[in-house]
């Protein structure tokens, strides 16, 4: 039998229901592996073995009574362990957000996604490492040390959800939650050789997500394959009265079987009729050749599966970096005003209120967070607002219109996730602009509010994973799952394991 930690989510759910394994065995397997190898990876900031084993014990009791009386119902995720990026509040578990300023913050409530997944039976393994306040593309901005890429410990895992991505890739968790404001789920998923979803803006509640760029923030999920993500997504999406931007549109229950149906109906060309657009602007000079080759090969595979491949243009793509790096820092400068040494500890200086604010924030925020607060404050300040923030919001409209036009011609857009595979730790740490340019292919989906899924499509010569992404119209996550799942039925890139 496949090792417990290698089972897919649907296989694990089946094995739990059949009584082949218990939730406690499963949970212990992940906790034991975490204890063995996380000193090398630093994927977790907090491990919650007591909470996890308590929830697992409870799950096993419920499974036992269900087996005695199968007419009762069991929760869909009963006994399934998950890891949570340290940007989401879990009641009574420290939530640092990768920052010193929140090092002792213990939220008194659950984020809506946590509430929903716990109600669905999930077991919480712990909180994963991240760039401070989700600001970064490498997890190097964590105040608690970098996370190492399980494929090559000298490389970054990507960011900002680098801890979640490394944990899933290294089998320290079967699935993990992340957040994606500018690529923070898709880019680390790509660097770590796993599958990651950034949902439509407003599809998943942000209540209990530490806010960064509120018009861009989404809660996403990282896992081994599209079918696993679909299960988690369908349990966490949907309207939440606590987040006014969430949509009323119904959420379909998705799983391996519902996603697989189309293939059996359509025989050897399950993607027949699917129009896939390939934007010129996402294949740029300076890209790693192996990345371009692997993505183009995957697009040919889609064609063999019946998809209709069309060249398209998203002409304002090159403006995504400057637009994002004005809008996101502007929103962050407002959102992070709340960390002032009054409502959350710690506090430095009690001289005057003004010193208290400035000294606490100056001392406890890391360099990248201060840089973005400064940038955002400048972009919003009197005399510069129209030229920077105002102009960025107008160009954002142009970027959104590019997508609207494209989706009149195609059902989805195929593109690389990043110009290169995982870069060495330290490579960009003194050059913030170079780091920002890494996000060129992931930012547009956030600016346009559309969903995107990243998944592995090959490896480079150094055995580092190569990812690609598919983007679809707002609220068409199901299409992304279906197409990625179809691809993953005929390829095995997503089954490769790092040498750990």
């Amino acid at each position: 039998m496949t090792e417990l930690i290698d089972l897919s989510l649907s296989e694990t759910i089946q094995a739990l229901q059949d009584g082949d394994i218990s939730s406690q065995e499963l949970t212990l397997a992940f906790l034991a592996r975490t204890e063995n190898i996380d000193s090398v990876l630093n994927a977790y900031l907090t491990i919650t073995p007591e909470l996890a084993l308590k929830q697992a014990r409870q799950a096993d009791i419920l499974f036992n009574s269900w087996r005695r009386d199968p007419s009762t119902k069991i929760a869909p995720l009963l006994g399934i362990p998950i890891a949570v990026k340290d940007v989401l509040c879990v009641a009574d578990v420290t939530c640092t957000c990768g920052s010193r300023i929140l090092e002792s913050f213990v939220p008194p409530y659950n984020a809506t996604v946590i509430e929903r997944l716990v109600n669905a039976g999930a077991v919480l393994l712990g909180k994963t490492n991240m760039d401070e306040y989700a600001m970064g593309s490498s997890t190097e901005n964590s105040a608690y040390g970098v996370t190492h890429n399980p494929w090559n410990l000298e490389r970054v895992p990507g960011g900002s959800s680098g801890g979640s991505a490394a944990a899933v890739a290294a089998r320290l968790a079967p699935v993990a939650l992340g957040s994606d404001t500018g690529g923070s789920v898709r880019q680390p998923a790509s660097f770590c050789g796993i599958t990651g979803l950034k949902p439509t803006y407003g599809r998943v509640s942000r209540y209990g997500l530490v806010a960064y760029g509120s018009s861009l923030d989404t809660v996403g999920v990282l896992g081994r394959n599209a079918a696993d993500l679909a299960i988690i997504f369908s349990l966490m999406a949907g309207r939440d009265p606590l987040d006014a931007t969430t949509s009323d549109l119904p959420v379909h229950s998705l799983n391996f079987e519902t996603l697989t149906m189309e293939r059996t109906q359509m025989g050897e060309t399950p993607l027949r009729g699917m129009r896939v657009g390939v934007p010129d602007e996402y294949f740029i000079g300076g890209m790693q050749a192996e990345v371009e080759d692997a993505v183009r090969k995957a697009i040919r595979d889609f064609e063999l599966l019946g998809a209709d491949i069309k060249p398209i243009s998203l002409p304002h793509t090159e403006y995504a970096v400057p637009v994002y790096y004005l809008i996101a820092p502007a929103e962050a400068s407002a959102n992070l005003a709340r960390y002032d040494g009054v409502r959350y500890g710690p506090r430095l200086s009690n001289n005057s209120l003004s010193d208290l604010y400035s000294e606490t924030r100056g001392e406890k925020f890391g360099a990248e967070v201060k840089r973005r607060i400064m940038l955002g404050t400048y972009a919003l300040s009197a005399g510069y607002y129209d030229a920077y923030y105002g102009q960025a919001q107008k160009v954002r409209t142009l970027i959104k219109e590019d997508f609207d036009r494209a989706f009149k011609e195609v059902d989805m857009i195929a593109a690389p996730v990043t110009p290169t595979t995982a870069f060495p730790i330290g490579e960009h740490s003194n050059d913030p602009l170079a780091m920002y340019l890494e996000d060129v292919f992931t930012l547009p989906a956030n600016l346009a509010g559309v969903p995107g899924i990243a998944f592995p499509v090959g490896f480079d010569q150094q055995d580092l994973p190569i990812g690609m992404q598919l983007m679809a119209h707002q609220f068409h996550e199901e299409l992304l799952f279906r197409v990625t799942h179809t691809y993953q039925q005929v390829t095995d890139w997503h089954k490769k394991k790092p040498p750990l």
Binding site: S247, S352, D355, L447
Partner: protein
């Protein structure tokens, strides 16, 4: 696009960030470089383009204005560095 140290001081003051002299010089250089890069947005004619107000079309939704219990006060105050009588305690604002 090049910021002066005085401009950096002004932004830091607005953002309530106490910065060291080294940080100010570093941010002066880095923010200048980033803003110079962002200046490419200026070449686009956006005179007829509305700014993005919301990215997903939704209706404003108002909830019934009825009182309901919130989180307990003790839970909300327990992360604060200094409290007194159910309130956050800060240094005097007015002497």
């Amino acid at each position: 696009m090049s910021l002066t140290i005085e401009e950096v001081d002004h932004i830091a003051e607005l953002a309530r960030l106490k910065l060291s002299a080294e940080e100010k010089e570093l941010f002066r250089e880095q923010l200048s470089e980033i803003l110079a890069y962002a200046a490419r947005l200026q070449i686009l004619d956006t005179s007829s383009i509305p700014p993005t107000a919301r990215i997903v079309q939704t209706q404003n939704r108002l909830r019934q204005d009825v009182p309901r219990p919130g989180l307990p006060l003790d839970d909300l105050l327990r992360n604060a560095p200094d409290t007194e009588g159910g309130q956050f305690r800060v240094p005097p604002v007015l002497e």
